[in-house]
Structures are given as C-alpha cells and as structure tokens.
C-alpha cells in the first residue's frame, strides 16, 4: 500500500520482468527475474498472473476468447476441453453467462473479473493485482474483495496486491507493506500496522489530512507564488 505515485505499479512491473531495476535483485520462486533468458522469463511468466488496473482485455476478442487466449497460445488442448476450462474459470468469477459479450460491453467491475479469470487460466502460483479496487461501486467492490480472498485460499495462490484503498486491502491481507517515496515505511500484519510507531504510516492508514502547521508553511509559499516573487 502507499499513496499514488510512490512506485507501487512499478514494483509489480519489476516483479513481472517488464522493467529492469537499476540496482538490486528480484527473486520469484528462487529465480532472479532479471538474470533469466527470454525463454526462462516467459516460462516464469506462465506461472504468474497479473491483473491490470484497466483489465487489459483484448478488445477484438469476446469474453470467452479472452479467457481462452492463454490456452490457445500455450497449449494444444482440443477445443471442447478449452471450452470446459474457460467456462469453469468464468464460473469462478460469476460471469459464465457473459461469455459472448465483447469487452466494450462490460462494466468496469465485469471487465476486471474477466481479466481475473484470464489471469487464473494457466493455474499460476501467484497473481499480482494492480489497484483492483479503484473506480468500482460499493457492491462490485465488495464482490471483488471477497473474490480475491476466496480465490487465493481455494487455489492456494500467492497474491500480491497493490492498492491505496486501505480498508479493503487490510480486510483481506495477511501481511502488508506501506510504501512511501520509494521506501518501505512500515510492514506487518494489519493488526500490528494499526499500532505503527511511524506517525506518517498511521496518518496514511487512518486517512488524516496533513497537520495544520504544515499547511501554514505551505501557505507562505503559495503567497510568494501568487505575488510572483522568484525565490532563489
């Protein structure tokens, strides 16, 4: 967790090997992601699922074909088996009946659930969620929160979830890191985090605004700014 712009999504992209770190090592299941050959990286990615904030569904394919996409690309399964597998994954996210819709016909929450079904297609060992709670209505939000937790438990996954929605995230997380300005500010189970000694972390978790003194300090800059005075 962390405020916007602290590098949460970047972190996921680093784990997935889409970005290279300037320094440091990222290990997934014992493998150094950025030392793998292209082939090994692709093999590793088959064991990771990723849920993008926008869903990243392929817009020229129907819901069914989107979920079938990983099977068609990576397996030579017969058509009837692909059909069964796709329907099972769609049923798991409660969208079996939406299989003939196109992505443009889906609501935000539905698109995310389809993307989740697709991320699960190859039965990965872990799924990464990029801001799965953003921009959803409360009912859909509840569904997604619940779904993520249930899938995690039922499939024995490792789930890495990146979010700035404190309440939803902590309600299903086993362990959380709070990130600020590219550094880990604090970490722990939801319970221990609530009693964090770091005031900023508590402020973030409880959603308080900046303290009054900080505000007045900024106000001075603001005045300078408005008066057009150039500061050295």
């Amino acid at each position: 967790m962390g405020p916007s712009g602290t590098g949460k999504t970047t972190l996921l992209k680093l784990i997935g090997g889409q970005l290279r770190p300037e320094k440091g090592v990222i290990r997934v299941d014992g493998l150094d992601v950025h030392r793998l050959s292209r082939k090994e990286l692709y093999a590793l990615r088959k064991r990771m699922g990723m849920l993008f904030q926008t869903g990243a569904l392929l817009t020229d394919l129907s819901v069914f074909e989107n979920v079938a996409f990983p099977y068609r690309e990576h397996t030579k399964l017969p058509e009837n088996m692909i059909r069964d597998l796709v329907l099972m994954k769609l049923e798991a996210v409660g969208l079996r009946t939406a299989r003939n819709l196109m992505p443009s016909e889906l609501s935000g929450g539905m698109a995310r659930r389809v993307a989740l079904a697709r991320a699960m297609a190859l039965d990965p060992m872990m799924i990464m969620y990029d801001e799965p709670f953003t921009g959803l209505d409360p009912i859909t939000l509840g569904h997604i929160v619940d779904l993520i937790r249930r899938l995690n438990d039922a499939l024995g996954l490792t789930s890495i979830l990146v979010s700035h929605d404190v309440e939803e995230t902590l309600s299903i997380a086993d362990f959380a890191y709070v990130i600020a300005e590219g550094k880990v500010a604090d970490s722990g189970t939801p319970k221990t985090l609530a009693e964090s000694s770091n005031t900023w972390v508590r402020q973030f978790l409880e959603g308080q605004t900046d303290k009054a003194e900080q505000l007045s300090e900024r106000a001075k800059d603001y005045l300078d700014d408005l008066m057009g005075e150039k500061r050295a």
Binding site: G16, F52, T54, L58, H74
Partner: protein, 259 residues
C-alpha cells in the same frame, strides 16, 4: 541564437535515435517472422483487414486514374496523330509509376493509419503489456503477422490497381473517344516489356509495401500511450510513409534506368 541551435541539435539527435530504434525494431520483426507461418490463421485474418478491405478504394482510384490517363493521353497524342498509341501510354504510366506510387499512398492512408491506430491503442490500453505478462510475445502475436500481411498485400493491390487502370483507359479511349480496340491491346502487348516494365513495377510495389507497413507498425508500437500520442503517431505514419514512398520512387527509378 544558441538556444535555437541547441534546439535544432536536440531535434536532430531525437530523429536519429528514432531511426536507430526503428531499424532495431525492423530486425526484431524479421526475427519474429518465421513464427507467423506456424499460425497461418492470424496471417489470413490480417491480410483480410489490411489487403482485402483496401481493395475497394484501390479499384475505384485505379479506374479513375486510368480514365484520366486515357483522356489526357488522347488529347496529347491526337496532336501528333498518334492516338492509336494510347494503350501504351496508359499501360506504361500505370505499370512503371502511377500503379505502385498511388497504390502505396492510398495504402498508407487506408491501411497504414489503421495499423498504427490499432497497435497504438493496444499499447495505450495495456493490451500489449497484458500479453507480455501472459508470456505471449506481442512481437510475434501482433506485429509480425500485420507486417507480413501488409508486405504481402501491397504487390497484389498494385497489380489490381494497374489492371483496373488499364481497363479505365480502355473505357475512355475505346468506348468514348473511338480508338480501335485491337490497336489499344496490341500496342500494349508489343510495347510493354515484362522485365523492364512489369517486373520493375512490381519490385517497387514490394519495396513500398515493406516500407509503408514497417513505418505503420513501428509508429504504433513506439507510440506515446495516450490519445494524443496515438493521434500523432497516426499522422506521422501517413506523412512519413508518403514521403518515404515518393523519395524511394525516385531512387528506385534511377536505379532501374541505370542512371
């Protein structure tokens, strides 16, 4: 003054960097090409959207260009009493120049811009990223089939354009202006050389096809993933590929006539 120089230098460096990136990209596409043949369905789909869907505009334009050539050629030739040679004038202009060039310009506007916009939007909506995370190489799945489809369709479109154009010239020359039908065809048959004219014209078609499609897929893949970025890339595709086609036409023509 210094600022202006600096700005120019910056622009030039940026341009060369893009050129370098597009060359590397071209190599990557070439390396990914063999995988396309394992998935012929993808290729056929793309040939349909890039080639078949461009057929109508190519045929309509071809017939008009042929008809204009028929009219213009007749007026000029009649002054010298050589109106019977209209067939050669129409056929040679089309086969050597207008066929490949006009087809390439139309192709850039019709298919090239669509390719750029499609790939650019796929990038902007994280579809390419999503594929990568599903261990599917977008180079092989998205770029290579589109590139091959474009390079394959262009010579066929050029051929269609020329054929329709010759028929357009026939319609005006023979149908409206009363030239002898036998003269029109026999002049074409005796004066159009297979190697010098048709072969060279088709080479132009192949080269233009590769260049236009290369520019289109590169601009799409390299786009800034915003709506403004995609729109700029699409414009750049049409402008750059049109310029490239006209400049290359000059170079190729020079080479072919041995200058």
């Amino acid at each position: 003054m210094l600022n202006a120089l600096q700005h120019m230098g910056h622009r030039a460096l940026g341009m060369f960097e893009r050129l370098g990136r597009s060359a590397l990209f071209f190599l990557q596409v070439l390396i990914s090409l063999p995988s396309v043949f394992l998935r012929p369905r993808l290729l056929i789909q793309e040939i349909y959207s890039v080639g078949t869907l461009s057929l109508l505009i190519i045929m309509v334009s071809g017939s008009f260009v042929g008809m204009v050539l028929g009219l213009q050629g007749y007026v000029t030739l009649a002054k010298f009493g050589a109106a019977e040679s209209l067939g050669v004038v129409v056929a040679l202009s089309l086969v050597r120049e207008l066929g490949p060039v006009v087809t390439a310009l139309l192709f850039a506007g019709r298919a090239g811009s669509a390719l750029t916009a499609e790939i650019g939007l796929m990038k902007a909506t994280e579809q390419l990223s999503g594929m990568e995370m599903m261990a599917v190489d977008p180079m092989k799945r998205v770029i290579a089939p589109r590139f091959l489809a474009g390079a394959f369709s262009m010579p066929l479109l050029v051929t269609t354009f020329i054929a329709v154009g010759v028929l357009g010239g026939y319609f005006v020359g023979v149908g409206l202006l009363g030239i002898d039908s036998g003269a029109y065809w026999s002049q074409i048959q005796s004066k159009v050389d297979f190697y010098d004219d048709i072969y060279n014209g088709l080479i132009k078609g192949v080269v233009f096809g590769i260049v236009v499609t290369w520019i289109a897929v590169f601009e799409g893949y390299d786009t800034v993933p915003t709506s403004e970025g995609v729109s700029r890339s699409t414009t750049r595709t049409v402008v750059n590929s049109s310029l490239a086609v006209l400049a290359l036409d000059f170079v190729l023509t020079g080479l072919m006539f041995g200058i």
